[in-house]
């Protein structure tokens, strides 16, 4: 099962290495990992997507909690939360195909952020499921380049 782990960490050199190193040493698999600033300049937030059974996830949470610069660990598995993954994707679109692709972009509430002679660059944010559904739909046109941020999440109703 997929778990979204959110860890507040001290904003210091080496903290990413401490966390990533712990995951590697313990054989946990990271699906995605996002680090970013928070409202507090002393703290950063790491959002880590991990796949594993309950026992593995319990170890992940506990081992993460033991990393000294990690301040707080939450697992959003059972918490309703807003999740966003951001994607930039360049799709092969010779001019006759462009309207079809733009229609898809609009249906998914994405944006075309750059247009070239035979491709468009699309920005799309949403849940991972939404992003993946979009990728499946544009795949037949030909994907030239793709970058995703990985998931961030904040609980609802906080």
């Amino acid at each position: 099962m997929k778990h979204i782990i959110s860890a507040l960490v001290q904003n210091q050199p080496g903290v990413l290495a401490h966390v990533a190193g712990m995951f590697a040493a313990r054989g946990f698999n990271i699906d995605s990992l996002v680090v970013g600033r928070t409202e507090d300049p002393e703290l950063s937030r790491m959002t880590i997507v991990v796949i594993g059974d309950d026992r593995v996830l319990e170890q992940v949470r506990k081992q993460l909690g033991k990393v000294v610069p990690v301040v707080k660990v939450r697992d959003f598995a059972a918490t309703p939360c807003v999740q966003r993954d951001l994607m930039l994707i360049r799709v092969h679109t010779p001019p006759p195909k462009r309207p079809e692709v733009v229609e898809l972009v609009n249906l998914f509430r994405g944006r075309v952020v750059d247009v070239a002679r035979d491709s468009v660059l699309i920005e799309l944010a949403g849940t991972e499921e939404k992003i993946e559904a979009f990728i499946d739909l544009v795949r037949p046109y030909g994907i030239r380049e793709l970058a995703r941020t990985g998931l961030i999440a904040v609980p609802r109703g906080g």
């Binding site: 507040l8 001290q10 080496g14 290495a17 170890q59 081992q63 909690g65 033991k66 000294v68």
Partner: protein, 571 residues
């Protein structure tokens, strides 16, 4: 912030205007450091210059691995933080084995290394190594200090992290410019560790549930690890065992938490544990694990481990709980505090039937060995126990001799055994015994070592001789890497591959190193040699030629359950 958390530790005095090296030395003194083990080099020259006039005793090892094991032995035997110091690059990489050893056994240690100048880091400068990168997975935490302003706080944090919670080694890598630089004003040395938790309030509901389970059990067993030593929970443990008449078995690192002369002591369990301990675990209806982590050398085949037992697990490390086995009553917190609270709810009982069952096993399956004209290592260790009133501090290497020491010395109190349990580091014995002697000048300190293990770090006998540390090194020469030979005999059709060797004349080497050297090769001469060794007031190396193909029993073969213990040919 509560008043308790606000209370400050004795300060290092004013640091304004001090160099980083002076800050380092002042902070060490503020932490109560009396002895430092280490080895110098270019990147730590400013620190050594300050040590020149410091009251802190500096013990110079002959190899950095020796220094870190000395700090480890000092820490295990005294309960204080051990401190090691090495230079950058090769000095730092030589610490790796010692840090990993301490990490696996939760030993409080702070290791300092010099690092190249901060602006050279990453340039493959002379004697540069990414030491924080190398040591991250084998330390509890580590730091790279680039600015003198951060040094004081980081030293304080390092000691705090090393000694609290589940203790462990912390490495502080200090760029030369941070030791040469000067502080303009007074630095902030207060730890900044918002996410670091050291205390877990015992969950009283669980404590009571555990006590009730104990009161209801018919055949309980206490399974005790090094956590009880670390927490200073021996008295509370023994009180529980006495009151409720619960037999106690210990791990290798838990030896001494139980006085082995007590009828309630089952001695060690696991692969080379006593048959009684292993049978008791397999038959018990309640297993109370305290400060132990269900290591695979202890549990044998985990599927058949303690099959009838409800399990209570007390540990300060939440990650240790339910890691290897499913636990019925988990209790996170300090073992001493939890046991003391639990004892208030535990009813006195006599459990006569369980006691008789255990007494019967003990009588039927005692630890045994053969005797003839050879020196039997088991008998020698048993005699050492008697001749030292079971009161010496005993270090070991890794191998058969280590298991025999665990089985036959006769442990009486915690912090008596110094042995690499988790990592199994050959070469640990000699330097850790020296560190222990430095911290316990009035105690008899013995290294019961294997010929293979001792050879790895015996150069530190020079350190013992030159610092007047009267350690007794007993080297059991079986002309083999015995434990590996035993496995080749048992599981590889006696194909002895890469395990035999001819030992040097250890007594002559000892004399050359400035210690006393002795040799003994027969059972008849053994007692006299041991007495002479113990009576000598300086360091002694006693080279003992023992029966070469002795095997360690009992043995639970890998993959087998604890009830399938093989008693060997004396069964």
């Amino acid at each position: 912030m509560t008043a308790k958390r606000k209370r400050k530790q004795a300060g290092p005095g004013t640091l304004a205007g001090a160099t980083g090296a002076e800050v380092f030395e002042a902070m060490l003194r503020a932490e109560g450091v009396e002895t430092l083990f280490g080895f110098p080099g270019g990147a730590v020259l400013p620190i050594f210059d300050v040590l020149y006039k410091s009251p802190i005793r500096f013990v110079r090892s002959r190899h950095e691995q020796g220094a870190v094991h000395m700090a480890d032995g000092y820490a295990r035997s005294t309960g204080r933080v051990g401190v090691a110091l090495a230079t950058s690059g090769p000095g730092a990489t030589n610490l790796v084995t010692g840090l990993a050893t301490a990490n696996m056994d939760s030993v409080p240690l702070v290791a300092f290394t010099g690092q190249v100048k901060s602006f050279l880091i990453g340039n493959d400068a002379f004697q540069e190594a990414d030491v924080t990168g190398i040591t991250r997975p084998i330390t509890k935490h580590n730091y790279l200090v680039k600015r003198v302003e951060d040094l004081g706080r980081i030293v304080r944090e390092a000691f705090h992290v090393a000694r609290t919670g589940r203790p462990g080694p912390v490495l502080v890598d200090i760029a030369v410019d941070a030791t040469v630089g000067t502080l303009a004003g007074e630095p902030d040395v207060e730890p900044n560790l918002p996410g670091y938790r050291t205390r877990w309030e015992p969950n009283m509901k669980q404590v009571k549930a555990a006590a009730e389970a104990i009161n209801a059990a018919e055949r309980p067993v206490l399974y005790v690890g090094g956590g009880v030593v670390i927490a200073g929970a021996t008295d509370a443990l023994r009180a529980l065992s006495e009151t409720a008449q619960i037999p106690v078995t210990t791990t290798l690192l838990g030896l001494g938490t139980m006085d082995e002369s007590s009828p309630l002591a089952l001695q060690m369990l696991g692969m080379h544990g006593t048959a009684t301990a292993n049978y008791a675990v397999q038959e018990c209806d309640l297993l109370i694990a305290v400060g132990a982590r269900f290591d695979d050398r202890v549990t044998g085949d985990i599927e058949t481990f303690a099959p009838h037992a409800k399990i209570i697990h007390i540990d300060i490390d939440p990650a240790s709980i339910s890691k290897n086995v499913d636990v019925d009553i988990p209790l996170v917190g300090d073992a001493k505090e939890i046991l003391e609270r639990m004892n208030e709810y535990v009813r006195p009982q006599d459990r006569a039937a369980w006691g008789e069952r255990i007494a019967d096993w003990k009588q039927r399956y005692p630890l045994r060995y053969e005797t003839d004209g050879d020196v039997r290592p088991q008998e020698l260790i048993e005699r050492l126990g008697e001749l030292t009133d079971h009161d010496a501090i005993v270090a070991t290497g890794v191998g058969q001799h280590q298991m025999w020491a665990a089985q036959f010395y006769g442990w009486r109190r915690p912090r008596q055994i110094l042995t690499s349990g988790g990592l199994g580091t050959m070469g640990f014995g000699c330097p850790s015994a020296i560190g222990a002697q430095a911290g316990n000048p009035d105690k008899t300190v013995i290294d019961i070592d294997g010929d293979g293990s001792f050879t790895m770090t015996m150069v530190e006998v020079i350190t013992a001789a030159q610092n007047n540390l009267p350690v007794k090194f007993v080297v059991l020469d079986n002309t083999y890497l015995g434990m590996v030979r035993q496995w080749q005999e048992m599981f590889y059709g006696r194909r002895y591959s890469g395990v035999d060797h001819v030992c040097p004349d250890f007594a002559a080497i000892a004399e050359g190193f400035g210690a006393k050297g002795m040799t003994v090769a027969s059972r008849d001469a053994m007692d006299e040699a041991l007495r002479a060794m113990l009576a000598h007031d300086g360091p002694v190396v006693l080279h003992v030629k023992v029966s070469p193909e002795e095997n360690v029993y009992p043995m639970v073969a890998p993959g087998k359950g604890l009830h399938e213990v093989d008693l060997g040919k004396l069964a």
